[in-house]
């Protein structure tokens, strides 16, 4: 039996693969279902970016908080939000994670430390500073992680939050998911200082840049950064360079991308494929084991879609509930 050369145990490697596969299949399936016209509103798919969510979230527990973006399904799944509840929410059903009141862009599960996908870009940054403050007062070693994209990194409240986190030494991490595009605008255009690491050091935080399509690279870097935060070393910034397979939202014609860009990415920069190759080559997990996980995940997604479609819609009474705790 070959030794496991990786910094994760075999069960954790399987968990990592399962998380990434679940995100991938969830998003691919949504792409198909959305095209049928059954899903209301907007969905923003995370396919291609799985290694970032998995590589970071594997270091977290329920006492750690994350704030996500409009492209939040990956973060939700990696943080442990139930797939069935998520699917039902996206379909606007009463059994959804938010009882159908939030939709794709607002899935949350505060019990699991998931402070919500957010339709306002960059809005998670101040909220996670708040989570960091709460963790400090409690002294529970918890951390907060806010995800935002290359575009949202230009939002004023993100910059303010970096300064605030630095002066108060908050246990928070700013993760820039740099997939090169803010909707249809390239990062080359929108960001004057093309390095987020320069920005971070401008605010007094150390910044680290990793290949976001490499699970192990993300995992190792995130591990050090999170440990530092837990031990009172303060905030940092992690830039994950990644690619998104789909458009900004479903329905995006993606004419801003280069010809064959999506095909090239799927062929050469698929984080799931490279993870599978690595672990099977090292002889730690067999390809049949991975395929078994693929099948289980496939069934899980099928079930989730079927149950979401069959689930009841919210009632008119639900319109006016949960505005306040009490009024």
């Amino acid at each position: 039996m070959p030794e496991n050369p990786f910094p994760l145990s075999k069960p954790d490697l399987q968990k990592a693969y399962r998380i990434m596969r679940t995100i991938r299949e969830f998003e691919e399936r949504l792409h198909v279902e959305f095209a049928k016209g059954d899903i209301p509103g907007f969905v923003h798919l995370y396919a291609g970016e799985e290694a970032c969510a998995a590589g970071i979230m594997l270091h977290l527990t329920d006492r750690d908080r994350i704030a996500s973006t409009h492209r939040g399904h990956g973060h939700c799944i990696a943080k442990g939000v139930g797939v069935r509840e998520m699917m039902a929410e996206i379909y606007g059903k009463a059994t959804g994670a938010c009882h159908g009141k939030g939709g794709s862009m607002h899935i949350a599960d505060l019990g699991k430390g998931m402070m919500g996908a957010n339709g306002i870009l960059g809005a998670g940054a101040p909220l996670i500073c708040g989570a960091g403050i709460a963790a400090k007062f409690r002294g529970d070693g918890g951390v907060g992680i806010t995800f935002f994209g290359d575009g949202a990194s230009n939002q004023g409240m993100v910059l303010e939050s970096m300064n605030l986190a630095a002066i108060w030494n908050l246990p928070v991490i700013f993760v820039v998911e740099n997939n090169g595009y803010a909707e249809s605008t390239s990062v080359d255009y929108a960001t004057a200082v093309d390095s987020y690491i320069d920005r971070a050091s401008g605010f007094g935080l150390p910044g680290v840049s990793v290949d976001g399509t490499d699970f192990f690279g993300v995992y190792e870097a995130a591990g050090e950064i999170i440990r530092r935060a837990r031990e009172g070393g303060g905030p940092s910034l992690l830039e994950c360079k990644m690619i998104r397979f789909f458009g900004h939202f479903e329905g995006d014609a993606q004419t801003y991308k280069a010809k064959n860009e999506n095909e090239d990415n799927r062929a050469h920069r698929d984080c799931l494929k490279s993870f599978a190759v690595r672990v099977t080559q090292a002889g730690v997990i067999g390809s049949e084991e991975l395929e078994a996980i693929d099948r289980e995940v496939g069934r899980l997604i099928d079930e989730a879609v079927a149950s979401a479609k069959a689930a009841p819609l919210p009632t008119p009474r639900d319109l006016v509930t949960d505005v306040y705790v009490s009024y």
Binding site: V208, S209, V210
Partner: protein, 348 residues
């Protein structure tokens, strides 16, 4: 016609985990661009008229172009004509390698490199006999000399304009070649380290208990990183024949322990079991049966007991500009000095 010079400035060096596990900093993009402008001005002052520059999407290009525009608008002839290579930009080390290949084909007389050890390695693997002038903008920077970039630029200009004899202007550098399973060799300019972590991950080396073997082309107590560890045991200069090879162990178990700076601000104990000089042109097989191979301080390859690995030191593998030698020669021979004739008399 004056020779052409190439410049490759890496925007992505000094961005890795050593910013968190050590006290490494990163040179800001604007500062890297300023270095490029310093070099451009310096080579222009030597008579260089054409410079080829590697394009990148890290932001250096924009600053450089604005810098040149600004002085052009003030009608100052401070800079040479700059052409950005026509090549796709992937934002990976492949860009550096491609740029070096293209500059080599274009017949540049020298390539000025802004980057860390990894960037210099990538250029050296593709530039053939074109000499390199190194400027350190990476993390450990064992390879490129620490020096004011304007002087590097000046020395480069003087060297390529052939004002300096070749044996003074350029010197030969050693290289380590790593062959895995008979594939084309991977190169390292400073060090090859074998560590027990058999995954590339965040690449950098800082967990000293995982270090097992070290091969260096030079050993210098005045640098940090692997060559620094070796330098504290037995210095070997860049000009001497051969290098050094060492077997390492976790500090608790080793015969000898050295306290060494392995990254900026990070000083740790390294266990040394044995060391010896590494002769050139001899292939060595590592004792470690599985793990990863770090080239110039970054994990690049992993191997298992089924893989065949060999390491060899090669002399005179590539050339660099000997900046100190050039400037000393220039001073002694008055290369930058000239008589002012009637002008001087008129002002006295």
């Amino acid at each position: 016609m004056a020779p052409t010079v190439g410049i490759i400035a890496n925007p992505a060096s000094a961005r890795d985990i050593r910013r968190v596990v050590a006290s490494a900093t990163g040179l800001q993009i604007a500062d890297r661009a300023n270095i490029v402008l310093r070099v451009l001005a310096a080579v222009a002052s030597c008579g260089i008229e054409e410079v080829l520059v590697m394009p990148e999407t890290g932001g250096i290009r924009g600053h450089v172009v604005r810098g040149i525009e600004r002085w052009r608008n003030q009608r100052e002839k401070r800079y040479p004509h700059v052409t950005f290579l026509d090549m796709p930009v992937t934002g990976t080390v492949e860009d550096t390698k491609l740029a070096a290949r293209l500059m080599h084909s274009a017949g540049v007389a020298c390539i000025v490199v802004l980057g860390g050890d990894g960037t210099h390695r990538a250029v050296a693997s593709e530039c053939g006999r074109v000499p390199i002038a190194g400027i350190s903008t990476g993390t450990n920077n064992a390879f490129p000399d620490h020096r004011e970039p304007t002087i590097t630029g000046l020395a480069t200009g003087l060297a390529v304009m052939e004002h300096i004899p070749e044996h003074v202007a350029f010197c030969a550098n050693k290289r380590l070649d790593v062959v895995v399973n008979g594939l084309p060799p991977e190169h390292a300019l400073v060090d090859v380290a074998l560590v027990t972590d058999a995954y590339v991950g965040a690449r950098a080396l800082w967990r000293t208990h995982t270090f097992r073997e070290l091969y260096v082309t030079f050993a210098d107590p005045q640098v940090i990183g692997m060559a620094g560890i070796a330098g504290l045991i037995e210095p070997v200069s860049r000009k001497e024949a051969g290098g050094l090879m060492m077997r390492l162990a976790p500090a608790a178990n080793a015969k000898l322990v050295v306290r060494a700076p392995i990254a900026p601000g990070l000083i740790d104990l390294i266990g040394i079991d044995e060391w010896r000089r590494m002769p050139a042109d001899t292939s060595f097989e590592p004792c470690l049966k599985e793990g990863s191979i770090a080239l110039d301080g970054e994990r690049e390859l992993f191997f298992s007991r089924h893989d065949q690995v060999s390491i060899k030191l090669v002399e005179n593998a590539f050339r660099i500009v000997d900046v100190a030698g050039v400037m000393q020669f220039a001073a002694h021979h008055g290369l930058l000095r000239s008589e002012q004739s009637h002008l001087a008399e008129a002002t006295t």
